[in-house]
């Protein structure tokens, strides 16, 4: 199934991406929102604050915390009491939460948090890349990446559905590129309350902090049992693979829109070259593909929607018949000189019979513009790999040599 959109123009509003997300959160009926302002997440939490001030979110408290560390820590308490919880952050704020991220997933608290993806300091930079959330890949959070405003908005209802599934019970980061998606106005369909109520059941955890049944949360696990705690978290991630797909399919049934489950494919059927990417760059890549397809270049796109759990099987299937694969990353693992999507895609193919050359290209860091020409250049590299094999496995594709 390719991307399917509800094209009913009557139902569309022109709103900012942040507003659309705030609206989605509102109709998911959270009980506690706790966040700390940081660009470019601010508009989301400002809009939510206004909803609260206007009495539009019943049975909900907004905690104006003194830091991101406390934003998420407060939600540990709220979620353990059985509240549906929401936060949003990015970059420095997300890095400040690092320790709490592990804690939330380890306690199996299904908190949903928007990440308005942004570069990390130093040097300080407020613009978009995905280094912030990618750097949190091992914290046990599900990570979904949105391609455009409508998907970012819709993703939040899906995120709660996945997180709160009793076979999952894991927190979810709904990642949207900062500014590019958070600060842009577009016509889109705001989630309808009645449909969300139909789609998303109320949150009812099996265990909660309750004087009537006084359970203990957050105990100390010794070597006799720690491994099993971790194993069960991984098992929940395995379960999430199916639940991400299911949430997307159910969403389609209720709302008539679909953006892929774990992954989505565009022009891959006969593609010799497959580009892989996450987030808003997908739009630019699709445009480039359309242009080059017209010239007869057999190029397609594999959109990775879920980075955690990493959809190994789905990726293998999607790229197994290609002649070359390029993983595009808005992040870098310093010291390895590779982006995460590249490294993990390569790893997914090792020990299989799939023998496709894979190269990695890093672009768009710290908000660097990604024109079609950058993507075309990357496709040129891929064509050369087809002709004469890999010359450079991984590198920045938009480096300014003159600054070095």
């Amino acid at each position: 199934m390719a991307v399917i959109r509800d094209l009913n123009k009557d139902k569309m509003d022109v709103v900012e991406g942040s507003y659309a997300v705030a609206h989605s959160v509102k109709v998911c009926k959270p009980n506690v929102i706790s966040a700390y302002p940081i660009t470019p997440q601010t508009h989301i939490v400002e809009d939510l604050s206004q909803f609260i001030a206007d009495g539009e979110i019943p049975n909900c408290e907004y905690i104006n915390v003194e830091s991101e560390f406390s934003a998420l820590s407060a939600l540990v308490g709220s979620s353990a009491v059985g509240a549906r919880c929401y936060s949003a952050t990015t970059s420095q704020g997300l890095e400040l939460m690092h320790e709490v991220l592990f804690n939330v997933s380890g306690m199996r608290l299904p908190i949903v948090m928007t990440i308005a993806n942004r570069a990390v300091s130093a040097p300080i930079n407020i613009w978009n890349d995905q280094q912030d959330s990618i750097s949190q890949r091992d914290t046990g959070w599900i990570q979904l990446y949105a391609e455009d405003l409508q998907e970012a908005s819709d993703m939040h209802a899906q995120a709660y559905k996945i997180a709160e599934d009793k076979d999952v019970m894991l927190p979810v980061m709904a990642c949207m590129d900062g500014f590019i998606l958070s600060h842009v106005y577009e016509p889109l369909v705001l989630l309808e309350q009645d449909l969300v109520d139909e789609y998303l059941p109320p949150y009812e955890p099996e265990y909660k902090l309750d004087p009537k049944n006084p359970m203990t949360f957050g105990s100390f696990a010794d070597p006799e049992c720690y491994t099993e705690f971790r194993y069960l978290q991984q098992k929940a991630m395995d379960n999430a693979l199916g639940k991400v797909e299911e949430a997307a399919n159910d969403f389609y049934k209720t709302f008539g829109r679909y953006y892929g489950g774990l992954i989505d494919e565009y022009e891959t059927e006969d593609a010799e070259i497959i580009l892989m990417a996450m987030g808003s760059v997908i739009g630019t890549i699709k445009e480039t593909i359309d242009k080059l397809r017209a010239k007869g270049v057999k190029v397609g796109l594999l959109k990775v929607r879920a980075f955690r759990p990493f959809p190994v099987e789905a990726i293998r299937n999607a790229i197994k018949n290609a002649k070359v694969v390029v993983a595009i990353d808005k992040n870098i693992s310093l010291g390895l000189n590779e982006g995460a999507l590249f490294t993990e895609t390569k790893a997914s193919l090792y020990n299989t019979s799939i023998d496709v050359p894979v190269i990695g290209r890093m672009i768009g860091h710290g908000g660097r513009d990604i024109p079609l020409s950058t993507i075309e250049k990357i496709i040129d590299d891929a064509v050369n790999v087809m002709k004469s094999g890999i010359s450079v496995e991984s590198q920045y594709a938009d480096l300014k040599e003159e600054l070095l």
């Binding site: 199996r108 265990y207 006084p214 203990t216 949360f217 105990s219 006799e224 705690f229």
Partner: protein
């Protein structure tokens, strides 16, 4: 051990399977002739090992008493003495 429930929750008061009485070197013993039932030992015991009897006097719960000696040290009437545990 039972299988791990989601998030690893534990049942209330379940440490009571762990009998800490084995830690003791000295054991507290009451001299009921001296005890005036002031309840101070019951209040102070860090291990909740002073149990009230029906007659209002107290007895030690040797399953858990660690033999810290606080009860004996604080008893205003000197009604508790610590004697070497015979093992």
């Amino acid at each position: 051990m039972m299988s791990i429930r989601v998030g690893g929750v534990c049942d209330p008061g379940s440490t009571r399977i762990n009998k800490t009485g084995g830690w003791r070197t000295f054991r507290p013993v009451y001299d009921y002739d001296k005890c005036v039932k002031c309840k101070l030992c019951e209040l102070l015991c860090p291990d909740m090992s002073v149990l009230e009897r029906e007659d209002g006097y107290f007895q030690f719960d040797y399953d858990f008493c660690k033999g810290c000696g606080i009860c004996a040290n604080e008893c205003p009437k000197g009604a508790i003495s610590m004697v070497l545990e015979e093992k």
